[in-house]
């Protein structure tokens, strides 16, 4: 039996009358790449923000890396990495300065920061961009850098919120290589996406519709259950019944 790193039970978030996330229950195992799918407005980002300790749940329970999302948000934060939908490194700092800053915040030692930033730059092939302002980099590079910074402190889990939106196919492939490498190192990946080919890369996926999880399994099992050959069709069959979308 593999270790469980995320465990939720009827996790719910209400904004007034609106129930953004409606009693979702699931588990994520260590080292797994867990895909979190759903149409726009299905409640993915809200769920993710609750798991990261950015947003307080209305009801239900959840543990992340063994810590409670109500009371132990600070411990959770020490054990996770997060990459938001919006690009969120400092555009007016250079690549190296960003790495140094986030490394420092997570309490890495100076020596650690130095070796890690060197290996990170080598891995991304960005040695010559090290001293450039992040704001001047193309989007694809920014996203790869953003991911690398999110896993810089070796978190147990990294949350990725639509990390490849607007990125070209080649860069997307490179991005997923980074994800695989991180998963290989034992980092659990929790990722939301709209790209169905990316869904195929995941070990397991869940599909959210109108705030509820409608399906959760491996891509292959889901395709069998819905009797299709592509994830596109699975998603389409589930999501077309959705009442809310942006």
């Amino acid at each position: 039996m593999t270790e469980t790193v995320i465990k939720t039970d009827k996790l719910t978030k209400r904004f007034g009358d609106f129930i953004a996330t409606n009693g979702i229950t699931f588990e994520v195992h260590k080292g797994e790449i867990f895909g979190f799918l759903g149409a726009n407005g299905a409640g993915k980002t809200t769920a993710m923000r609750m798991l990261c300790g950015l947003s307080k749940p209305s009801s239900g329970s959840a543990q992340v890396a063994g810590f409670d999302v109500y009371k132990q948000t600070e411990q959770i934060k020490r054990n996770i990495g997060y990459m938001s939908q919006k690009f969120s490194l400092y555009e007016d700092l250079t690549v190296v300065e960003n790495i140094r800053f986030f490394g420092g915040i997570y309490g890495l030692s100076n020596a650690d920061i130095k070796t890690k930033s060197e290996s990170l730059l080598a891995q991304l092939g960005m040695e010559s961009e090290a001293k450039k302002l992040v704001g001047s980099l193309p989007l694809g590079w920014k996203q790869k850098l953003s991911f690398s910074v999110a896993v810089l402190h070796r978190p147990k889990i990294v949350f990725l919120d639509e990390p490849t939106g607007g990125v070209d196919p080649v860069t997307r492939r490179q991005f997923w290589n980074l994800i695989y490498a991180a998963a290989q190192d034992g980092i659990t990946i929790f990722v939301t996406t709209h790209y169905m080919d990316e869904a195929e890369y995941c070990n397991r996926i869940s599909i959210m519709v109108d705030g509820k999880i409608e399906a959760l399994d491996t891509p292959r099992a889901l395709k069998q259950r819905y009797n299709t050959t592509t994830m596109d069709d699975v998603f389409y069959q589930l999501a077309r019944g959705a009442k809310r979308s942006e």
Partner: protein
């Protein structure tokens, strides 16, 4: 502790990369200190005078000459009648119309009493009041002169006289700039500290980087300290720059101890930065933050006693100004720079401002949420 160093490093790099901020902390104090004291001058002089002289006698001519040579008035027109002089007042070419009645000289001798008619444009109450008072005292002087010239009744000298000697301490030349410059410097330090802090944090909110910070284990008070310290340093830089400008341009050297000034400004900046911080926790966009900040700054500055004395305000306004941190700095700046007040003299001010610092920062920390 180490995390704070990383935060500081980041903030300073960002500040030095931002041209707008650099301009704000370097050019703004210099320009404002150069222009404001020159422009902000309440002294009333150059009052435009229009004369309607129906008498055309030596007496009336002498009076008019005396008025003009006083230096307060500028003769901008002569009109044959009040009716024709009035349009000059409508178009602001005359602030004051002096009308000398016909046979003024003759009747003064015959009846021992004559009237002069003065019309004052009173839209600006202060100016009207002072202008009228100046004219009155010149006329009184003139009156005394002609009494001496024309007939000197001996009984007049027997009247008792109270001789008033007045001395103006701390600013014997009554130099208005010496009074304004410390006040303006106080405003500058406040504006820069408050605006920069508020805008900085809201910008992180707007751009989204604050979210990234919020998922890190960074402690709340570390984050806030990391924001406060750089702007505290900048505030002190601006203050020092301002003192240098005051010395270089106006020759103002604080009479009191510089250490007293820096101690007070150091505590005061904490209060102002706390206020900026507090505003930023309520706002989502820079536009909002700037506007709210501007709103409060305007009230603080207008009611801080920079231009008009707080003592003269009605009770309710005095009460408000007790909650206005700016009023304490303005008054302490003037006390230390002009009067040489020491730490003991400003202890009450210091205590109150320290209280502000604690309350505002405490409130801001409570209000700054890492979760929604």
């Amino acid at each position: 502790m180490r995390t704070i160093l990383f935060l500081l490093q980041k903030e300073f790099k960002q500040i030095f990369r931002n041209r707008a901020i650099l301009v704000m902390i370097s050019v703004m104090p210099v320009v404002q200190l150069m222009v404001l004291p020159l422009a902000a001058n309440y002294e009333v002089k150059n009052i435009n005078l229009c004369v309607v002289d129906h008498d055309h006698s030596t007496t009336s001519q002498k009076l008019i000459n005396k008025i003009i040579s006083s230096g307060y008035f500028k003769l901008t027109g002569n009109a044959p009648s009040f009716h024709e002089a009035f349009p000059l007042m409508e178009s602001d070419a005359a602030d004051l119309i002096l009308e000398v009645p016909q046979n003024f000289e003759r009747n003064l001798v015959r009846e021992d009493e004559q009237k002069l008619f003065v019309a004052v444009n009173a839209i600006n109450g202060t100016k009207a009041n002072l202008g009228g008072a100046y004219l009155g005292s010149i006329i009184r002087d003139y009156n005394r002169e002609i009494r001496l010239d024309w007939n000197v009744p001996g009984r007049f000298n027997a009247a008792p006289v109270i001789d008033i000697s007045s001395s103006n301490w701390f600013n014997p030349l009554l130099n208005y700039r010496v009074f304004m410059v410390p006040g303006i410097l106080a405003i500058l330090v406040t504006m820069i500290g408050g605006f920069l802090t508020a805008l900085n944090i809201v910008k992180e909110k707007e751009v989204g980087t604050i979210e990234q910070i919020n998922v890190t284990p960074l402690r709340k008070h570390h984050f806030i300290l990391g924001k406060l310290i750089p702007f505290w340093v900048l505030g002190n830089v601006v203050f020092t720059l301002g003192l240098l400008v005051a010395w270089a341009i106006y020759g103002i050297v604080p009479v009191g101890n510089l250490i007293v000034l820096y101690v007070f400004v150091g505590v005061y900046l904490l209060a102002v930065l706390g206020f900026g911080l507090l505003v930023s926790t309520f706002c989502d966009t820079q536009q909002q933050a700037m506007f709210i900040m501007f709103f409060f700054m305007m009230i603080f500055i207008l009611m801080g006693g920079l231009f008009t004395p707080i003592d003269s305000m009605p009770e309710w306004a005095k009460l408000i100004s007790r909650f206005n941190p700016v009023s304490y700095l303005i008054s302490v700046m003037r006390m230390v720079v002009l009067k040489g007040s020491d730490l003991h003299d400003v202890r009450v001010h210091l205590g109150i401002v320290a209280l502000f610092a604690v309350v505002l920062n405490g409130w801001a920390v409570l209000n700054y949420k890492k979760t929604t």
